[in-house]
């Protein structure tokens, strides 16, 4: 045990105090364990709830789920507005390195047509985690961005965009949304609470990088899509109306044109539009249009409901209705003599025809649109009575059509009305109405006397199919008796049949209507040379269904009357509307011989052609230099006659030179074949010599010669075999189409 003694000896060197100190140190360390446990209790139990709450908010990512905005459809269910998927481009500047910055900036500014410097600045803004560079970009652009492999700093995400099937159709009524699909104007704004739906949420558990966890808890609140809105508008008829209004602007060189088509038996608006000479409101290009706010505001204005005007003679319908209903005048016994002006309370008020209309009965007065007669009728009615009717017809208050920005018009309070004011109101002056008010009132006057509330929203259908709003014809009140209404219809039909409304006649249909030409006012009173020509028509006249009102604002043509400026377009619109809704013409189309209109002004030519049941088509207001088909041609009524004027720009685009054609080789063709071939090229066949059958043997102008459009080509027919020596039979043809009478005027004048 010697060695162990040695060990023990060394052991003695170890003082006991070391153990004590070690124990003490250990105790201190273990005491810290107690401290730790106390702290742990504090964190895990006392503060736990607060900490968990905070932690939870960082673990969960709350994503908004955008509800799809409802569709707007027309009466046939054709989609006018819908929301679809677009994309947005995001920048994550923190992921963009300095080296990539220049390339990314230049590529992105190129693709999205943005300013390079501003993109460059955004890519370097490290203080932001995410910057939305561009919204509502197309799939193609997104694909291009992806193909460039711009790295982690450029991302794309889904965005929504409002698409309008026909960008310009019904655009003022539909309105547009902000970039975030919040209604900003029109129905998009007024029906926003229905259309917008309710956004949903998705709460996802994610890691700190934002990636959702595989088995993470998800809370999903489904978005409720917006309701669909069905309008009373028929997009086909709307198209017709808009086209006619644009045409009216171009033809009449007008400032703007407004139109409304109403179902007078219900008050449903079938079409409504305001067209401006400055252009159209294209809902698919709102982003670009926002750069010119003034123009956007103007083009967005639906003047049919928003702006009142002095209606002029169209208002006589109201006076007439009031007079007939109240028996203030008798339809059969009324008589009035017009001397060109009337003296009312010392004021001389002129009739539009300063030479006067002579003695007329009620129907004639209306046909002539005689102001004197209507002053007389208004005075017979008296202020109180006329005003009762004016208010009963809905003037002076909005129609509550549901369209935004409706104006109530201006009806001066009756206590300020003097006799001459009353007389003026009788023929539509000293009162301001909106086109929709007038159309609504006229509907009541002709539909049997019942005023319906106009409406444009037919149904609002929730996402689940529930019909939330189902508008139907809402009768406001009976304004005039059925009998009075029948008389009004009769008189107004006569206006179209025989009077100032002739331009609104439609072959095969009975139409009633009234013209109107109104003054415009500015700060100095009556604005010289600024007029509003209008026409309100209804059809079928004996059982009216549609009322069409068209206003042409500030037309700049020679003679301005509702009958020449607005009526032809009402006719056009009405005819297509009736056809669209399957109203069959009550008599078949007739054929007419085209009259000669060369040398007339386009307006005159148009009126003349209309008399013949033909339609004039022209570009500019000027003297007609040529017409196609030519005078003497027999065509169906309703055929369009193309009018060329001196200022017509020809397709050849030379310095004012006319259109020329190359004369074809006619040899060997029969007369009919030759006629068809020449007609197709705009040339005119003239049979030379005596026609006795056979084929063309010679022509007055050699084949291959360039001649102006419309040149007459003389052709002799006969047997082509010269060896035969047989003379052509001298039998004259009686076929009317083959030998059109060609007045010399149809020959072209090649110079301007």
């Amino acid at each position: 045990m010697k060695p162990s003694r040695k060990v023990k000896k060394r052991d003695r060197k170890k003082p006991v105090s070391i153990n004590k100190r070690i124990l003490a140190t250990g105790a201190v360390v273990l005491l810290s364990a107690v401290w730790l446990i106390v702290k742990l209790i504090g964190v895990q139990f006392v503060q736990a709830e607060e900490l968990q709450q905070k932690a939870l908010s960082q673990w969960m990512r709350d994503t908004a789920l955008t509800a799809s905005r409802g569709e707007i459809v027309d009466s046939n269910g054709i989609t006018l507005a819908q929301s679809g998927t677009a994309y947005k481009v995001l920048l994550w500047p923190q992921n963009i390195s300095e080296g990539e910055r220049e390339r990314i900036s230049s590529e992105l500014s190129r693709i999205f047509n943005l300013d390079y410097d501003s993109v460059y600045e955004k890519t370097g803004d490290k203080t932001k985690r995410e910057i939305v560079l561009k919204r509502q970009v197309s799939r193609e652009q997104v694909d291009e961005v992806a193909s460039l492999k711009l790295g982690n700093g450029v991302a794309t995400a889904v965005d929504t965009k409002r698409y309008y099937s026909y960008g310009t159709l019904l655009s003022q009524v539909l309105g547009y949304t902000t970039i975030d699909s919040v209604g900003q104007s029109g129905l998009e704004l007024s029906l926003d609470k229905y259309l917008s739906g309710q956004d949903g949420r998705m709460i996802t558990e994610t890691d700190n990088a934002g990636q959702s966890l595989v088995n993470g808890v998800q809370e999903y609140i489904e978005p409720i899509d917006g309701c669909d809105v069905k309008l009373t508008v028929d997009s086909s008829v709307q198209t017709v109306l808009e086209r006619a209004l644009r045409e009216a602007i171009v033809v009449n060189n007008a400032n703007n044109a407004q139109g409304i088509i109403m179902d007078c038996t219900t008050g449903a608006i079938v079409a409504i539009s305001t067209q401006y000479s400055e252009g159209e409101l294209d809902l698919n290009n709102i982003a670009e249009m926002r750069s010119n706010v003034e123009l956007l505001t103007k083009l967005s204005r639906n003047r049919v409901v928003a702006d009142s005007y002095e209606p002029g003679s169209t208002f006589k319908i109201i006076t007439l209705s009031a007079a007939l209903d109240s028996n203030a005048v008798n339809k059969d016994s009324y008589s009035c003599t017009c001397g060109g002006a009337s003296l009312v309370s010392g004021q001389r008020i002129r009739c539009w025809r300063t030479t006067g209309h002579g003695t007329q009965n009620l129907t004639q007065s209306t046909e002539n649109s005689c102001n004197c007669a209507y002053m007389d009728i208004a005075l017979r009615l008296g202020t109180e009575k006329l005003y009762d009717y004016i208010y009963a017809f809905g003037f002076g208050q909005t129609t509550e059509s549901g369209m935004l920005g409706e104006s109530g018009g201006i009806v001066t309070h009756e206590k300020y009305i003097l006799d001459y004011d009353l007389a003026r109101i009788g023929f539509g002056q000293s009162i301001a109405v909106t086109p929709i008010q007038l159309a609504t009132a006229v509907s009541a006057a002709v539909n049997g006397g019942i005023l319906y509330k106009p409406y444009i929203v037919d149904e609002i259908i929730a996402d689940d199919g529930t019909v939330l709003v189902d508008n139907e014809a809402t009768m406001v009140r009976r304004v005039i008796s059925d009998e009075a209404s029948a008389n009004v219809r009769e008189i107004l039909t006569s206006v179209v049949d025989n009077g100032s409304g002739r331009n609104a006649q439609i072959a095969g249909y009975k139409v009633g209507g009234k013209t109107g030409t109104a003054q415009k006012y500015d700060e100095n009173g009556v604005a010289e040379g600024k007029l509003i020509a209008s026409f309100v028509g209804f059809a079928p006249a004996d059982d009216p269904k549609y009322v069409v009102l068209i206003l042409v604002d500030e037309p700049q043509v020679g003679s301005i009357f509702g009958s020449t400026v607005a009526a032809p377009f009402v006719r056009e619109v009405m005819e297509e509307t009736l056809r669209h809704f399957d109203y069959l013409p009550s008599w078949m189309e007739e054929t007419v011989t085209v009259p000669n209109v060369v040398g007339m002004t386009t307006a005159e030519a148009e009126a003349k052609l209309l008399e013949f049941g033909l339609e004039a088509v022209f570009q500019d207001e000027d003297v007609v230099t040529r017409q196609v088909p030519a005078a003497g041609d027999v065509v169906n009524t309703g055929t369009q006659v193309l009018l060329y004027t001196a200022s017509t720009v020809y397709i050849s685009d030379g310095d004012g030179e006319t259109v020329t054609v190359v004369v074809p080789d006619l040899s060997g063709l029969t007369r009919l074949q030759a006629y068809d071939m020449l007609r197709a090229m705009g040339l005119i066949l003239e049979v030379q010599g005596i026609y006795a059958g056979g084929v063309a043997i010679s022509q007055s102008i050699e084949a291959g010669t360039e001649v102006p459009y419309g040149t007459t080509v003389g052709v002799s027919f006969g047997t082509p075999l010269p060896t035969d020596g047989a003379e052509p039979n001298p039998t004259p043809t009686s076929t009317p189409e083959a030998t059109p009478a060609l007045p010399p005027e149809t020959s072209p004048t090649p110079d301007d």
Binding site: K2, P3, K6, V7, K8, R10, D11, K13, K14, P15, S17, I18, N19, R21, I22, L23, T25, G26, V29, L30, S32, A33, W35, L36, I37, K39, L40, I41, G42, V43, Q44, F45, Q47, A48, E50, L51, Q52, K54, A55, Q58, W59, E205, T206, D207, N208, A209, L213
Partner: protein, 398 residues
Amino acid sequence: MGKMKISLRYLKERFLGQGRMDFLFFGAIMLLCVFGLVMVLSASYYTCYKNYGDGFHDFTRQAVCFVLGLVGMIVVSYVPYQLYRKPIVCGSIYAVTLGAMLIAAFFGTEVYGASRWIQIGGITVQPSELAKFVLVIVMAAYITKNAKKISRLKIVPLIIVSILFGLFALTILKQKNLSMIIILGAVFIIMLIWGQFKWWNIGMVLLLAIAAVTLALWMEPYRMERMLSFSNPWADPSDTGYQLIQSLFAIGSGGLFGKGLNFSRQKLLYLTFGENDFIFAIIAEELGFVGCLFLIALYAFVIYRGILIAIRCKEKFGTLVAGGFSIIVGLQAFVHMLITVGALPTTGQTLPFISAGGTSLVIFMVMMGVVLNISRQDERFKKVRTKVESKIVPLERK
């Protein structure tokens, strides 16, 4: 040293012939290590999967190091600890460690702005982890040898041990490993106390330390701010307070029983360094208060058992080494845990045996190997003496 007959038989008896180790201590360490492996896998899987595409990246390394550490621990447990007392052995260990640390400080791999690692082949080693181990051994050896000088109030031993510590501290300062200096400093002072240095000596050292810390903070006030951010992490939740807040979220949402193993939310990239510097927070989140108590108890048991081994050791050197190592484990474990609950300034401090980090694991296990060897030499375990025991004597006698 007399002539020795070194035969295989002799070596076998000399090494394997020692007593049995403290199996409770060994078992507790194993439990900690296995617990650590499980937690490293749980805490690191998501981050590793994200970063390397391999969720087992950190776990695999940890597992390999665990095997290395286990082998090292068992081998070392057979090496008589008296070996380290020899000036030539502890001197060269000290020199090699200091050299490696200097290499790391000046030529090492830089990670997170600190140069602490050296790369040998494909393995990255952090030599400063060795410093604790070496400082304890060197100081224990010196104190044992110079006990008389120390008791005679000579200033020389204090200067010498201070130099030993100072060289390490300066190198680590260069490596910007503040938490390591603090642990090292604590170990140094504890060793001074245990080594029966006079109280005024210790007081002087403490004063010096306080002065140095004050100076450092005064020179770089942002450190102060950073150091003190733990008292109110919400003042700057996105920067200085971020980690502590995330740690508190993890612990606070753990509750009594935790979310269950693998169900931590904070490890999903919210809490950074969740697999090492903040692994306790993840443990608290997944296993709750109960799991924490279990872990704390386990550490307390290791410390208790380690101190028991130290006290039972009849030799001063063995006592100091076993006590020092056990205290290091306890100190570092509780500092780590106290940091995660916001009781101490937020400095990177690994949890012994548990945190991911191969060097730390291997060194801690080897340290425990030494303690186990000390336990083997406990007389009470040597109830059955083998015949060859007498053969040990020549070596002991020197």
